[in-house]
Structures are given as structure tokens and as C-alpha cells.
Symmetry: C2
Subunit: 335 residues, 2 copies
């Protein structure tokens, strides 16, 4: 593979001149420029970005740290981050943590190693001190709410308000036994959504029943299905379910169908995330739809600014969301 030196030798100029041409510098004598460009072509030169970055002190990489790509929300988000990063000439390195504290800590620790300019992290189990300990001085943008208050840039929607809106919607349908699936011992977003659920119930004058709040240690379809099975075993099963993500909701729909329940007549269901698959479910899924493109774009932009000037106060940006009402709570049923 041809290097700058090879090209310089072939063109009969210095490395500097070739570098100037390659980097689009203005003042190069036309004759030299022509010869360099010819040499560039015949050698098929391509700059070694590693070397360039070593010299420049930036790597051109950004790490995207997330639980797992099989979760559609993260796959969709990752796709959008890739696009947003491209606009800033950043390559994206995706790291899966599997959502465990172990995995998250290990990944965070591996970031210290200079090959990234910064990281966008979607934490689940991480604690505040982990960041300082494992990735000191590394520009980080955090996605979503987190139980601990970190002095880091952060992007996400207002989960409390979003949950309130979802539950208020169920209340407006006349539902009174509204369950929640997705309570979690330490996930920040789960805590926020639970808070919104409770405050909406309280505002509607409905009682808070502990047996209607189901914990889910994971947010996969099977966990939703299992949780719904338990809720249906209650003496008085719910007439509506608010799920903390769409995957849980899909599991819920499945279990409901297997038990012969009609959705939304017997039980209305709301999800969270607006995965593409929800629109094709039967019934299609009512869900909280965060503006994922805005999240991706904002995160990348925040990271860029953080990289440029490290000593800014941390920012928290709230991105918009809306409630997408579909068949699982709507009048037209697919049940």
C-alpha cells in the first residue's frame, strides 16, 4: 500500500507538498499539484487514518455503548447514531454490554485506551462512580435517565410525563384496574416510568394496587408474556396494561391472545419505544413514541461539543415524544 513518501518520490516533490494536496491546501503550484495528483492516481494512495489520527491527537472514532442490538429500540437507535455520526466524520464502534453491570464496567474500562474520541452510553446498571473510575476524562454522553445524578451530558425524553400520558390515556378509556409491567430494582428509566404511572393513577383518583405492578428483570418479549400470565392469575385481573417497552407489550399481547382475551375490549395495552414491529402487530400497538432521530442527533452533537471544549457545564437535553394511539387501545379492534 502506497504511502505519502512513495507518492512524493514518484511525483518528485516533498512529502509536505503531497500532504498539502491531499488535505486540500490552497497554495500549491499548479504544476506540482498536477504531478502529485497523477502520482496519487497511479499509486492508488489512500491515507492511513490511524497515522493521521495519532499525529492529530484524535481518533475519528466514537463508541456507542448499549445493552444489546437484538432489542429493536437499540438497533433503531444505533442506525440513527451511525447516520448522525457520519455527518461529523466519526466512525462508530458499537459495544454490547448485555445490560449487566459487569459488562458495562468492562466496556467502560476498555474505552480508556485512546482509540475513541468519546462515547455515547446507554447504561442500565452502571453507578455514578463507575464513570469516574473506569473512564476518567473521557467525553461521555449518557442516554436516558439514570438513577444516580451524574455530572455528564445527557439526552432523553421526560419519562415521567410520558408515562403519565400513557396511563392517562388508559384512564380516559374508562379503565380502572391498570397494571404496569417493567418495574426494576435499579434502572433509572424504569423508576421514572413507574413514578409517572403512579402519579397518573393518583391524579385520576384510582387506587395504587401493588399486585398490579409487575417487576421485569429483562425487557424481552418472553418477560412480558410471563408477567402477563401472572397478572391474569390474579383474582381480579387488570383491564389495562402499561408496559415499559414494546417488547414486553408484544409478549403481553401474545399471552392475552392465548387466553382468549380480546384487546382492547377485555384488556387495553400500551407499550413504550414505538418499535416498527408494533405497527404491524395484531392488534397494532399503542405506544409512547420517542423521537429517536432527535435523540441520536442530539447525542452526537453534544459529544462533539464536549470533545471540543471539555470544561463546559454538563447539559441535559430533553427530546420530544408523543403518544401513538393504535388498535391495542383504540376503537377499531384487531382482537
Amino acid at each position: 500500500m502506497a504511502t505519502l513518501k512513495d507518492v512524493a518520490a514518484l511525483a518528485g516533490v516533498s512529502v509536505k507538498t503531497v500532504s498539502n494536496v491531499v488535505n486540500g491546501y490552497a497554495f500549491v503550484r499548479p504544476e506540482n499539484r498536477r504531478r502529485v495528483e497523477e502520482a496519487l492516481l497511479t499509486t492508488g494512495y489512500r491515507p492511513n487514518l490511524g497515522a493521521r489520527n495519532l499525529r492529530r491527537g484524535r481518533t475519528g472514532f466514537l463508541a456507542l455503548v448499549l445493552p444489546e442490538l437484538v432489542v429493536p429500540y437499540f438497533a433503531e437507535l444505533a442506525g440513527l447514531v451511525l447516520q448522525a455520526a457520519q455527518a461529523h466524520e466519526w466512525n462508530v464502534l458499537i459495544e454490547q454490554t448485555r445490560g449487566t453491570r459487569e459488562g458495562e464496567r468492562a466496556t467502560l474500562a476498555s474505552l480508556g485506551t485512546h482509540l475513541i474520541d468519546g462515547a455515547i452510553v446507554s447504561p442500565e446498571a452502571l453507578e455514578a462512580r463507575d464513570f469516574g473510575e473506569l473512564a476518567p476524562g473521557i467525553p461521555v454522553v449518557v442516554l436516558g435517565e439514570h438513577s444516580v445524578d451524574l455530572p455528564l451530558d445527557r439526552v432523553g425524553i421526560d419519562n415521567v410525563r410520558a408515562a403519565e400520558e400513557a396511563v392517562r390515556h388508559l384512564v380516559s378509556l374508562g379503565r380502572t384496574r391498570i397494571a404496569a409491567i417493567g418495574a426494576h430494582p435499579y434502572r433509572g428509566t424504569a423508576a421514572q416510568r413507574l413514578r409517572g404511572y403512579r402519579s397518573a393513577l393518583a391524579a385520576a383518583g384510582l387506587p395504587l394496587r401493588d399486585e398490579l405492578v409487575a417487576t421485569a428483570l429483562n425487557y424481552h418479549r418472553r418477560d412480558g408474556a410471563a408477567a402477563m400470565a401472572e397478572l391474569l392469575a390474579l383474582p381480579e385481573p387488570p383491564d389495562a396494561v402499561f408496559c415499559f417497552n414494546d417488547l414486553l407489550a408484544v409478549g403481553v399481547l401474545r399471552t392475552a391472545a392465548e387466553r382468549g382475551l380480546r384487546v382492547p375490549e377485555d384488556v387495553a395495552v400500551v407499550g413504550f419505544d414505538n418499535n416498527e414491529e408494533g405497527g404491524y402487530n395484531r392488534p397494532s400497538l399503542t405506544t409512547v413514541a420517542p423521537d429517536k432521530a432527535a435523540i441520536a442527533h442530539t447525542a452526537v452533537d453534544l459529544l462533539r461539543r464536549r470533545v471540543e471544549t471539555a470544561d463546559r457545564p454538563p447539559e441535559r437535553v430533553q427530546t420530544p415524544f408523543r403518544l401513538e394511539v393504535r388498535e391495542s387501545t383504540g376503537p377499531a379492534s384487531g382482537g
Copy 2:
């Protein structure tokens, strides 16, 4: 950020010794090792991988080039590739091409720039010469079938046999008007699956009807829904549909439901890819299930061998698959 030199100065030894300790070299005097380790700790040294790789002539990166992460098949595969790559101490750079030749060419061209050791490419529109032109000398492993015969390592399932098996299954249910959705002007996998579809029909003594073969330029849910709407508008609509991926099939199920058709009684549906979502559909989706973990693992391994010795003859590895029979063709209906 501390460098090797800083550590050496602090420990009162040479950089070589520090390097030896960092890289786990055996022969370091215990006293020196102790001092180096101490200096390592107090400086919080982390190796600059960029510099290391520049020197070593490898980058530690592998590019995974795929159409888009919102397609569950690619998201699932990407997750598995990340895992497989980790075992070889490779970081993975994901590039989305959006499945266009433009996008694929642009991505391929950007690979030439030395920051990757090799690439795993899932092409859709690429032509043979693109590889030679745009990424000359770069170790590449191709995923899936491709219309053009390339002298490159390749991993995939036997799409012809897989399609045959799917269609044979529909035939065994007594279906006679079996449609196919997903014919495509240049995708290699589409051509193979179409071939399998045709040969299975021929083997069963069923006529090949052109009106039952639907082209899909994209393989998203909405494309399946649209194609199914057209098939149902035929004077004699199909009694079974073989879709070239699960997303198309999900769209088909949706359209069928909207028209009040029962699946599988009125129309049986088979997909391809075994996305997680298919198991939770109502009815759950019968599908061709490729062993994605095997694909990911094999691709990474093939790439490693290609990087190590460039002058091996290209290999083609076929990974296993099986037909996963569920409700959309099975006796127990969810329709």
C-alpha cells in the same frame, strides 16, 4: 494522559521494560516489575492502541458492512458478529449502506483507508468489479449468495435448498396456489430462493404461475403488506405464501388479517430468517431459520485466516438451517 515514557521516567527504567511489563513479557526482574506496576497504577496508564497498531501494522478493527440495522435480521447478526469478534480481540465498526449500490460502493471505498484489518460485507447491489476497484487487497468475507461469482471467502446457507424445503412444506399441507414474495432484479439471495421455489413446485407437479410471483424492491413489512394486497386482488388468490424474509411475512399476515382471512386455514404463510418477533406474532410465523451464530462465527474466523494468510484460495462455507414450523402453517391456528 500518561505515555509509556512517563511511566518509564517515574519507575526509573527504560520504555522497553515498561513495554515488556505491559505486554506480559516473561523476563523482567521482579524488582523492576514491581516498580513499573506501581508507576502504571499511579499514572493510570492506558496504552494508546492507535500507536500500537500503527507500529504493528494491524488496526484491531473489522468493518461490518450491512444494509441497515433496523432490519432485525441484520441487527441480530450484528450482535453475534460483535460477540464473535471480541473473541479475536477485534473491535467492530458497523457501516450501513441502505442497500443501495451507491451506498455500498461508498462504504467499500472508505475501507481502503487502513483503519481496518478486514471487512465482513453483506452486499445487495454490489457487482463483482466493485470489490476489486474499491477495496483492492482488503481482506473481505462476503455474507450470503451473490449474483456474481467472486473470488472471495463467503459464508451463507444453501438458499436453494432452504427455499425448496419451505415450499415443500406448503405443498405437504395440500396447498396448490403457492405464491412467492421477494423476487428482486439483482439480489443474489432472492434469485436463489426463487430458484428453490420454482424447483419445489416443479417437483410437486404444480404449475408455475407468473402472477403468483411478487417482486419486492425492499424487504420491509410495508412491502410485504403491499405485495399481499396485490395477490389478494387476483381472480384466484393464493392459498399459501412463501416470503423471502420474515419482515415481508409480517406484512402479509397483517394484510391477511385486515381482509378477514384466516391463517393458516385460508392462506398459509412461511417466512425466512427466523427473527425473534416471528415467534410472538399471531399466528406465530413458520420460517426458515438459518444458524446465525454459525454465520457470524464462521465469517469472523474466515476473516482471521484471510488476514493471516492472504494467498489462500477463497473458501465457501455453508452453514446449517432448519425449517421452524409454527402456527402460520401449523395445525394450531392463531387466526
